[in-house]
Symmetry: none
Subunit: 249 residues, 2 copies
């Protein structure tokens, strides 16, 4: 199991949900709560619902952006009660929790929960290695935010206790942190524009697809280095081309 | 699975918990709510927390005694986040849910949740065929009532539906055949040589690492196409450079 499981609540609107999420975490042994740009005060209502878990709120970290919340995370998971069309690889919560139990002890994992009304947006999904689907009724998938945190925290606890078989994970490999993977994808995007390999009618599509692929592949530190070296070499080669063209004119 | 799963809340004190429990039930496809001698009004707070599950409250049955709540039930389960010394056979929630899935379709099952502060008393435990233990942190077992209903309802749904499968996967996705992946890796190797991104002391290493990455990522047909398009664009861009160089000489 990972050394740190970070529960990340993105733009939460209701303080009661933050408090209830803190309690849901502590009762299952989770402690690391990160709030991304919360849309409410973390005041008395949050503390009342946190009950004996107020320290999880006191020790929580509030950050302005999702990128800041993901710093250092080597595996990022989105949660949803719905099925998404484009996005990270979708697995059932139980399968995902088992997979997590197989990660090296040194890894930091972030589990993202979106705003109450809308859930995670595409930009957030693009940061995820996996999307965990929480099974719900087909006609009423309106799972409360704190209830979702509770179910996920419960599954993680059961999976950690060895009640569910572990899955993947080569422990000798060092997974690249989220910011390095993001840097690689952005680098790809720049070079793709430079060599005119971008469809002008959907200029963001290639980037999103590469982000999705990179997260699914769980890139290693050395692979990110290899691919960035390649992209830099392409930039040098095509930069020469452009300079030559300009000097010819 | 049983024909009816009855969620029985015994002497609940907080209307918000009743509303949240109704929502937790509906989102997992449960409908039968029985309130035993509730210690609060089922008013606006309960309805607000029920959100779109108000009909579960409207259709709930309020009874004065536990005996009345259990009428017709052929299997009675108690729930607890703590271990009880004396009482019915204790099993983990997951084990208990699996056992329930094996019951005849005609059976009516009641799952009991005790008052917020005290949990089920001995008289209630004596009515139970089983006691389900919800695993919690050893030092903080204070699981909120509605959160407990949510976790139990989730487990019942997973046990019933066979919703636990391996990876769901996206059925619209078509994995690339091995020869296409090999073609992509060779293409990468050619371009990497062209832009001089190959270590001359280990000229095959980059190719081998990319092959390994591509296998692990289980590339899709459309991803191979995207990446080959990018490599071709790089070739065009750098090919122009070479042609220009040559015509200059």
């Amino acid at each position: 199991m990972a050394s740190e499981i970070r529960i990340v609540l993105v733009e939460t609107s209701h303080p009661g949900n933050i408090g209830a999420a803190a309690r849901a975490m502590k009762v299952m042994g989770l402690r690391h709560l990160v709030l991304v740009n919360p849309q409410c005060d973390i005041g008395s209502e949050a503390r009342a619902r946190a009950s004996g878990a107020v320290e999880v709120i006191n020790e929580s970290v509030t950050v302005p952006t999702l990128a800041a919340a993901l710093e250092g995370a080597r595996f990022v998971v989105g949660t949803s009660a719905r099925t998404r069309r484009l996005g990270p690889e979708l697995v059932d919560l139980r399968t995902g929790a088992a997979e997590l139990a197989g990660l090296p002890d040194t890894d930091v994992v972030a589990v993202l929960f979106g705003p109450e009304r809308t859930g995670l947006d595409n930009a957030a999904l693009d940061c995820c290695n996996r999307l965990w689907r929480i099974p719900t009724d087909a006609d009423y998938a309106s799972l409360n935010l704190a209830a979702a945190v509770q179910v996920v925290a419960y599954e993680l606890r059961v999976a950690d206790g060895g009640e569910v078989a572990a899955a993947i994970g080569d422990e000798s490999v060092e997974a690249a942190p989220a910011e390095e993977v993001a840097g690689l994808c952005d680098h790809f995007d720049r070079v793709a524009r430079q060599v005119e390999s971008i469809n002008p009618e959907a200029p963001r599509l290639a980037l999103r697809r590469v982000q999705r692929l990179a997260r699914r592949a769980r890139l290693e530190v050395s692979e990110v280095k290899l691919l960035r070296g390649f992209l830099s070499a392409v930039e040098r080669a095509t930069g020469t081309a452009r300079d030559t063209d300009e000097s010819d004119t």
